[in-house]
């Protein structure tokens, strides 16, 4: 494995065999807890547990809010990534650090920050109140919380894609007389579409799993603000079997997203 092999003129460098040991430990560290959940499932009651009124309401709300926040992330995140990757202005690196901050913040801190921004007595709460907009305890609050924590995921992956794609083709298009919007639409966006897709998938997955910011900022009410992670947390208080069943449901939804995006990346353009 360590000896270089010739393959069609290219020298293939094998991995050092010791790498496989920590890699296996790492894989088991992720896989064993998932197996543990599977073993803990009460299969006889699994279907009734995940089709109960509260579970279905939580799943639908989660899918709805995660889709909405992914849309928000794409609408705001694509321009942000373009500005960070292609724009040139003073304080750019400081701005990048700031907008990526939610990536490393504990979500509960994000929730508190949102509370003091959009909450009833928050920074913008009074103005919003005058406009007749009440965000507290509404589904909008859930989408805001999810968008806040997911946005940096989309920005980071799209910015990376933009940087690695380079601006060569854009320059050529521009020298051929294309206006900036035309370049963006016909060259840049198609070029980084796989990066945009994987960024959107990441944002959706992160939104689906959002817990801390939602709990702190939006509250918890069936069908309105109680998403699947909040429902799992609550069910755990009285019915461990229901919590485990719902956990599996969330794992399955997440796995479907990850697998779908992986196969898309393999078969998609580029």
């Amino acid at each position: 494995m360590t000896a270089p092999r010739r393959n069609g003129g290219l020298i293939q460098v094998g991995l050092p065999s010791w790498v496989y040991l920590p890699a296996t430990v790492g894989a088991l560290f992720v896989i064993v807890p998932l197996v543990a959940i599977l073993l803990k499932i009460d299969w006889a009651h699994f279907i009734p547990l995940i089709t109960s009124e509260s579970s279905v309401a939580a799943l639908l709300l989660s899918l709805r809010t995660a889709s909405a926040s992914t849309a928000v992330c794409v609408l705001l995140g694509v321009p942000m990534a373009l500005v960070l990757a292609r724009g040139r202005f003073p304080g750019q690196s400081a701005l990048r650090a700031l907008v990526l901050l939610p990536l490393v913040l504990p979500p509960v801190v994000g929730g508190i920050a949102l509370l003091y921004t959009f909450g009833r007595q928050g920074l913008l709460g009074h103005q919003l109140d005058l406009l007749g907009i009440r965000i507290a305890f509404s589904t909008t609050a859930v989408v805001l919380a999810q968008s806040f924590v997911s946005l940096p995921f989309l920005v980071v992956s799209l910015e990376g894609a933009l940087r690695s794609a380079g601006s060569g083709y854009e320059h050529i298009a521009a020298t051929l007389g294309a206006r900036p919007t035309t370049v963006l639409r016909t060259v840049t966006v198609p070029l980084v579409l796989p990066g945009l897709m994987s960024g959107a998938v990441l944002a959706f997955a992160r939104s689906l799993g959002e817990f801390g910011a939602t709990l702190t900022f939006a509250g918890s009410l069936q069908g309105v603000t109680r998403t699947l992670p909040l429902e799992i947390y609550l069910q755990r208080e009285t019915d461990a079997d229901a919590a485990v069943a719902l956990s599996l449901l969330l794992i399955v939804v997440a796995a479907v997203i990850v697998i779908a995006s992986a196969s898309r990346r393999l078969t998609g353009p580029l």
Partner: protein
């Protein structure tokens, strides 16, 4: 959150192991000849799993216990009662367990975690809390159901929520809360941050929040009283010290600290 509890548990285990080994070496060096294993002196570590609502009172009592019994160290794991029972049944090492309701203590009894019957040492009741000054002018439990009033309560699955349900049934007033939180501290947070008009929390939580909330006691709360039991665990590695801590909580000193925080005597 689970992982934080896990880390806290792991840390307390480490503290327990370190505490034990150091106290053993200490006693070995001072009493070289006669190392009697049945010594009655209270030393070593006591790990207490306690309901989250006991945080401030038990922290104070822990400090007092360590002062009264030099050579001891009290480690706490504060969490929701049902979390604590789940951790104990999964084998978390602890000496003393207290829950915020009898339900969860019954679970511990049924799981065979105790050596003797638990002792009830405190009572807690619900109170209405509003942002400071009570801007909505809420005066009774029935006022919570008036239209346009945003009320936050605990979900029925947690002890404070089941107490809320009991009061609703007793009064015939059906609340339409804007949020059903999974912890009483989350209800309090929604009030201190001014998000909601009123909430239902324990008297002790309202006391602890000081002037960040206005508490409005209501007579119907007597229909739903939470009882706090305490017990020494079967798996305790330091049962003598554990019993002494239980004695402190149930004794006059403990009762005085609990009463100051708003708990009633059982």
């Amino acid at each position: 959150m689970r992982s934080i509890v896990g880390i806290a548990t792991a840390l307390s285990v480490t503290a327990l192991v370190v505490g034990c080994s150091s106290s053993q070496t200490d006693s070995a060096s001072t009493t070289s000849a006669e190392a009697s294993p049945t010594s009655t002196a209270i030393t070593g570590d006591v790990t207490v799993f306690a309901a989250a609502s006991l945080k401030s009172t038990f922290t104070e009592l822990g400090t007092r216990f360590e002062k009264d019994n030099p050579g001891t160290s009290v480690t706490f794991n504060f969490a929701g009662s049902s979390d604590l029972v789940a951790q104990l049944t999964q084998g978390a090492p602890a000496d003393v367990f207290t829950s915020a309701d009898t339900n969860n203590m019954t679970k511990a009894v049924d799981a065979g975690l105790l050596t003797s019957d638990p002792v009830n040492f405190a009572l807690n009741t619900l109170t209405i809390v509003t942002p400071p000054g009570n801007p909505k002018g809420i005066a009774s439990f029935a006022d919570l159901a008036s239209p346009g009033t945003q009320v936050v309560v605990c979900a029925p699955q947690v002890p404070c929520g089941s107490a809320t349900e009991k009061v609703e049934q007793a009064t015939g007033v059906a609340l339409t809360p804007v949020s059903e939180e999974s912890a009483v501290t989350d209800v309090l947070g929604k009030i201190t941050s001014g998000q909601a008009d009123a909430g239902l929390v324990y008297v002790t939580d309202a006391n602890g929040a000081g002037d960040k909330v206005t508490a409005i006691p209501f007579p119907e709360s007597s229909g739903a009283v939470n009882t706090y039991p305490i017990a020494v665990l079967k798996e305790s590695t330091n049962p003598a010290a554990a019993q002494k801590f239980v004695d402190l909580v149930t004794g006059p000193q403990g009762q005085e600290v609990l009463a100051a925080a708003g708990f009633a005597a059982p």
